[in-house]
């Protein structure tokens, strides 16, 4: 994935879309106020400069799907593991809830289910049937909408053709009006995401930690 910081307006449509797509529980004001809210993608807001000469910077942060992910090695039960496609997967059923992955993740993009999730009626009717509900005591995080990836793979296999670049997108990318988020296959050098990731505007978040993230951030040199 590529995130163009110069395009991001901080509208948080991605945050809302992600909630709806991935059955992310709403935990209420009291729990949210002590830091237990779950957002697989968040828009971080930073100010640069001193008032009145201030520039606001928005930085959408989601799981960076690291190639050398610190969360994977520390998990004692392989709940956090690297799947064959290079995705940093979380197997909810294997998770016993040591929360070690949450500590090890430098991006703080892992979220814990402190209670069993609940949806007031009729909100339960809006749940996405393609995404499992996570029970109390397990970790969860951005999956790059793995259910959409799998659906597309099944579709192209049935139709006996190759997957086209941009044929499907995760919910956040789909809902990004300024097109700040671009998703695609990094293994295909011709895809748009590969082209953008090679841009000299590209940086990785906390690159110095050596986690080799698969998300590239684009921003102008300043």
């Amino acid at each position: 994935m590529v995130v163009d910081l110069d395009r991001c307006t901080g509208c948080e449509a991605c945050v809302v879309a992600c909630r709806a797509e991935n059955n992310i529980p709403t935990i209420g004001e009291a729990q949210a106020s002590i830091g237990r809210a779950i957002h697989w993608i968040r828009v971080e807001r930073y100010w640069e400069g001193e008032f009145p000469d201030v520039r606001v910077k928005f930085q959408p942060v989601l799981c960076q799907q690291c190639d050398a992910a610190p969360c994977e090695t520390v998990c004692p039960t392989y709940a956090s593991y690297h799947n064959p496609e290079g995705l940093n997967a979380q197997v909810y059923n294997r998770c016993v809830g040591t929360r070690y992955c949450g500590n090890a993740c430098p991006y703080t993009v892992r979220f814990f289910n402190w209670f069993n999730p609940a949806w007031d009626k009729p909100l339960n009717l809006q749940l996405n049937p393609d995404v499992s509900i996570r029970e109390v005591g397990v970790m969860e995080k951005c999956t790059f909408c793995v259910q959409r990836i799998k659906a597309a793979e099944i579709r192209v296999e049935a139709e006996k053709r190759e997957l086209k670049d941009g044929e499907f997108n995760p919910a956040c990318v789909q809902s990004c009006a300024p097109k700040a988020l671009v998703f695609g296959d990094l293994n295909d050098p011709a895809s748009e995401v590969s082209r953008l990731a090679r841009s000299n505007r590209g940086t990785k978040l906390l690159e110095e930690l050596g986690t080799r993230p698969k998300v590239t951030y684009l921003q102008r040199d300043s």
């Binding site: 002590i34 237990r36 090695t73 004692p76 039960t77 016993v96 040591t98 703080t108």
Partner: protein, 450 residues
């Protein structure tokens, strides 16, 4: 000098007579343990969210307690093994009450990783066994190293505790009647005190003493690696393993001195646990005070001088930020109060060492807390910085485990002579026959009174 009969009389008294004071101590402790148990059930029932941990501080009181208790467990086996190998003759009355701290503190400490799980009923998924999920646990995870190390240490220290109890249980067997006779006959495992049996016991003890030292060191190194292996500011440090081992021995000796003071008072062991024992352990503790200061200064100085952004955020949080009061209380408890008490010969009395040890126990708990929480609260991206506040659930469980330690200890002294009778008698023999004082392990073993 006490005679053998007097030793028997004094040390077996707690096993045969239970005064009202036992129940005065036992009942409130039992209530606290029950409260903790209730809190844990409540936490499992409602979800771990009733504890105060939150994102990004995923580990709080529970893991603090885990590290703390594993640290306290280094009191016993390690110290007793070192003193045995060094042939320190003054160790005799001290070894058993030290070794039993290890076993109990380790059992309590090992509960905490389970209490803190999101789904504690699945803790056994960390154990490598052929299972329906067809996968091994992840051997790359420090938590799995932990499980292995703690199980090894627990097995080792239980044998280290039980082996030298066998002759003492034989003494109890010979003095007891009724149900006690039956119980201790079974426990004494047919001990007759033959030279062959003594030889085997001595060999086993010597082997265990050698083996248990590297195991003890490895346990707390691995506990430190739970933190040091993760790329978290101020955790990811090479100093952590020795820092934790030194801290563990430090808090362990302090815990031992406090326990000895209680035993001395309540079991009337004034003539066995003498000022000399507190003085000697006090000197050992003084060395650990200095070692603690050395490690803390090394850690802080290199961080400050290196001046890396991520680490400095955590550094200032503990030096002058919201965790600073706790930090400076820790320095007070771990150095400023104990150092003069232990360094000045006049102050290194029983009262002095006990005060110093009590503050050290508090200080070392704070140190564990300050290692774990501030780093998690201020990880790399400032947007996700957070804080932590425990709830009554965590506090109840924490208090309950201290009460649990008390209860286990109370029960132990009711079933086992808390001072090793045969080792004490071996000491007597060594004094009476000069040729044996050079090697305090007698070649001809003392016979058990029959």
């Amino acid at each position: 000098m006490k005679t053998r009969d007097e030793i028997n009389e004094d040390l077996l008294r707690p096993l045969f007579h239970t005064s009202w004071r036992f129940f005065v101590a036992f009942i409130p402790l039992a209530l606290l343990v029950l409260a903790a148990y209730g809190a844990f059930i409540y936490q499992m029932w409602s979800g771990i969210g009733v504890a105060g941990i939150r994102r990004p501080v995923f580990w709080g009181f529970y893991i603090t307690n885990f590290v703390f208790w594993i640290g306290i467990s280094h009191a016993g086996t390690l110290i007793s093994a070192i003193l045995r190998l060094a042939n320190a003759t003054w160790r005799r009355p001290v070894t058993r009450c030290a070794e039993v701290i290890t076993v109990f503190a380790l059992s309590i400490g090992a509960l905490f990783p389970i209490i803190h799980l999101g789904r504690p009923w699945l803790f056994y998924w960390l154990i490598p066994y052929p299972n329906e999920r067809s996968i091994w646990p992840n051997f790359r995870s420090p938590l799995l190293w932990d499980l292995t190390a703690i199980t090894t240490y627990l097995t080792g220290s239980v044998s280290f505790l039980l082996l030298p109890i066998i002759p003492d249980w034989a003494v109890v067997r010979d003095k007891a009647a009724g149900w006690r006779k039956k119980l201790y006959t079974a426990l004494a495992l047919g001990w007759r005190g033959t030279p062959k049996q003594w030889h085997r016991l001595e060999t086993a003890m010597h082997t265990m003493a050698v083996v248990i030292i590297p195991v003890a060191v490895s346990v707390h190194s691995i506990v430190s690696w739970d933190f040091a292996m993760a790329p978290v500011p101020m955790w990811h440090s090479t100093i952590f393993a020795p820092y934790f081992v030194a801290g563990a021995i430090f808090s362990g000796i302090a815990g031992l001195i406090v326990a000895m003071a209680f035993l001395r008072k309540f079991l009337r062991l004034e003539e066995y646990l003498q000022p000399i024992h507190f003085d000697n352990l006090g000197k050992l503790l003084l060395m650990m005070v200095l070692l603690w200061l050395y490690f803390t200064v090394s850690e802080r100085l290199t961080t400050w001088y290196g001046n890396q952004n991520d680490e400095m955020a955590v550094f200032w949080l503990t030096q002058r930020g919201s965790f600073a009061p706790l930090f400076w209380v820790m320095v007070l408890c771990n150095f400023l109060i104990p150092f003069p008490l232990l360094a000045a010969k006049k102050l290194r009395t029983i009262t002095g060492t006990v005060i110093a040890s009590s503050t050290i126990v508090v200080g070392m708990w704070l140190e564990r807390f300050l290692i774990i929480v501030p780093s998690l609260a201020h990880k790399y991206l400032p947007y996700s910085w957070g804080s932590y506040r425990p709830t009554w659930v965590e506090i109840t469980i924490t208090v309950g485990t201290f009460a649990g330690m008390g209860i286990l200890y109370l029960l132990f002294v009711k079933f086992v002579p808390i001072i090793s009778i045969w080792e004490l008698k071996a000491g007597l023999k060594a004094v009476h026959s000069p040729q044996l004082t050079i090697d305090s392990k007698p070649m001809v073993a003392p016979l058990v009174d029959r």
